[in-house]
């Protein structure tokens, strides 16, 4: 079971600043979304709106076509998992999981305990005594095992070491195949997570910068490498993201898909056409806006 999350013309104002500016965005059911943005771009507030932690100043936030705020049915369908402060948490893991078991209708206890084992989390220790990485893994267990139709992971990997993060990605994909739902993964670890995404949303300074499926976005980024003058001539009417020069050779990252014709013409001129990683696109697109 997967749910749709939708924001229509959402603006969120704080006393002095605007955190989100007129965002309209749909999270289609059953897809894995990467929500990318720099620090302070507004990722977390956007997600907290979907989870009904707060209300927008203007605009609508809906789950499956109904406003989510204070909507008992719809709020039940959303999990918002973020890095929690566990300093005051003296209980152990089984006690904390009881809570999800009681309140999440699709919660799968066996699955939760399989995950705990895979993450090697101790069951008898108080949670505030666990390392940051273990606490992060616990959050992941809660998020995955609750099996909510819309599951949001807001930079939950913080504190996890690389092998643990890989387990997280593997388990997420495996469980998504068995129990499809809508996932939103907010991150700035773009390069290691991009293979997870069906769809990518980039927000920058509270505005929606990009909202497209992963394939299309990948096709947008093109790097052209070759003799400097020829490269310059080739990209003259294209949107340039970044350039690097080494001797007479130049490599330019451009934004905008190449037509087949362009591709052939590049080949004829001895230019090398390559892809641009999502990470590079993210860096240069959000840089360029300044």
């Amino acid at each position: 079971m997967a749910a749709e999350g939708k924001l229509s013309n959402v603006t969120l104002k704080f006393r002095k600043s605007e955190a989100l500016k007129d965002i309209s965005l749909t999270f289609d059911p059953g897809k894995i979304y990467g929500l990318i943005g720099r620090n302070g771009a507004g990722k977390t507030v956007l997600l907290s709106l979907l989870a009904a932690f707060r209300e927008p100043t203007t605009g609508q936030v809906e789950i499956d076509g109904e406003p989510v705020f204070e909507n008992a049915d719809k709020m039940q369908q959303v999990s918002f998992i973020y890095t929690k402060n566990y300093e005051e948490e003296y209980e152990n893991i089984p006690l904390i999981l009881k809570f999800s078991e009681r309140y999440r209708p699709n919660y799968d206890k066996d699955y939760a305990y399989r995950l705990l084992k895979r993450f090697k989390l101790p069951l008898d220790k108080p949670i505030n005594k666990l390392s940051k990485g273990m606490q992060a893994a616990l959050n992941v267990v809660i998020g995955l095992a609750s099996r909510t139709p819309l599951t949001i992971f807001d930079e939950v990997y913080l504190g996890m070491d690389a092998p643990t993060r890989v387990i997280f990605y593997e388990e997420l994909l495996a469980d998504h195949i068995k129990h499809p739902r809508t996932f939103i993964l907010s991150t700035h670890l773009v390069s290691e997570m991009d293979y997870l995404f069906d769809h990518v949303v980039i927000i920058h300074e509270g505005r929606l910068l990009l909202d497209n499926d992963y394939e299309s976005i990948s096709a947008q980024g093109v790097s052209i490498t070759g003799a400097a003058d020829r490269v310059d001539a080739f990209v003259s009417d294209r949107k340039i993201l970044n350039e690097q020069k080494l001797g007479g050779t130049k490599s330019i990252m451009t934004y905008g898909a190449l037509s087949e014709e362009d591709r052939l013409s590049a080949q004829d001129q001895g230019l090398e056409v390559g892809p641009v990683s999502l990470q590079d696109l993210f860096i240069h697109l959000t840089e360029e806006v300044h």
Partner: protein
């Protein structure tokens, strides 16, 4: 998907959790009372029976529970997809249940104390002139106590919500409101200022007035808390 009402579940969970705290609390107070009994028996004096002995600290204990409930439960429950409304109703039910429990527990301990004192002479003073005085009637003492501890919990909850929502500076304003509410409460209950340093001006001896005053205060507190939490932003 047909929705199941969640607030009864929430009420049960909140009640059991806080009842656990209460049992810890009462075991400490009982130990203190026993120590007190030993000390006064050496000095050949008397202390008050358990119900009266514990009354001040029970009220303060519920005040603290109320403060904690704003911080401890709000984020936790909303993160599990529970609406503020369900949480509010669940909490209110649990508050009344908890107030009843912390009224009955000391009553039971006092009963045991009386039972023991019929075999052994205990140095307890049964001749007190507070409203809690059991000689003025068990039912009256119990309901008075119940209303008072409920008020204390709600005042604590209000302070907690005030701080949670508005932060430090305005939070202090909620302390002022709390003190006003406490003074009002002692105004309704003759000779029963649980916070003794607050001057009180009694409405007189009429129990009907006291009970109705208390009920109105409780309703106002409940209303105020609901208004403050109805659309509250949950902190991350």
């Amino acid at each position: 998907m047909k929705s199941v009402k969640l607030y009864p579940k929430i009420a049960v969970d909140l009640f059991t959790e806080q009842l656990k705290w209460s049992l810890w609390f009462f075991s400490f107070v009982t130990i203190a009372h026993i120590i007190g009994l030993v000390i006064v028996s050496i000095n050949d004096a008397h202390i008050q029976e358990f119900f009266v002995f514990s009354s001040y600290s029970v009220a303060i204990f519920l005040l603290v529970c109320g403060i904690i409930s704003a911080y401890g439960f709000m984020g936790q429950f909303v993160q599990q997809g529970i609406t503020r409304k369900d949480l509010y109703i669940g909490t209110v039910i649990s508050v009344f249940a908890l107030a009843l429990a912390v009224t009955l527990i000391p009553l039971a301990i006092t009963g045991i104390e009386y039972l023991i004192s019929s075999f052994v002479a205990l140095p307890i003073n049964t001749n007190t002139d507070t409203v809690f005085d059991l000689s003025s009637g068990w039912l009256l003492a119990t309901s008075t106590f119940f209303l008072n501890v409920t008020t204390y919990y709600l005042i604590g909850w209000l302070i907690g919500v005030g701080y949670y929502r508005f932060g430090w500076v305005i939070g202090f304003g909620f302390i002022a409101i709390a003190i006003a509410a406490l003074s009002l409460n002692s105004f309704f209950w003759v000779n029963n200022s649980v916070v003794p340093w607050i001057p009180y001006n009694s409405v007189g001896a009429s129990i009907v007035l006291s009970v109705s005053g208390s009920l109105i205060l409780i309703s106002l507190l409940l209303l105020f808390i609901r208004i403050l939490t109805r659309r509250i932003t949950i902190k991350l």
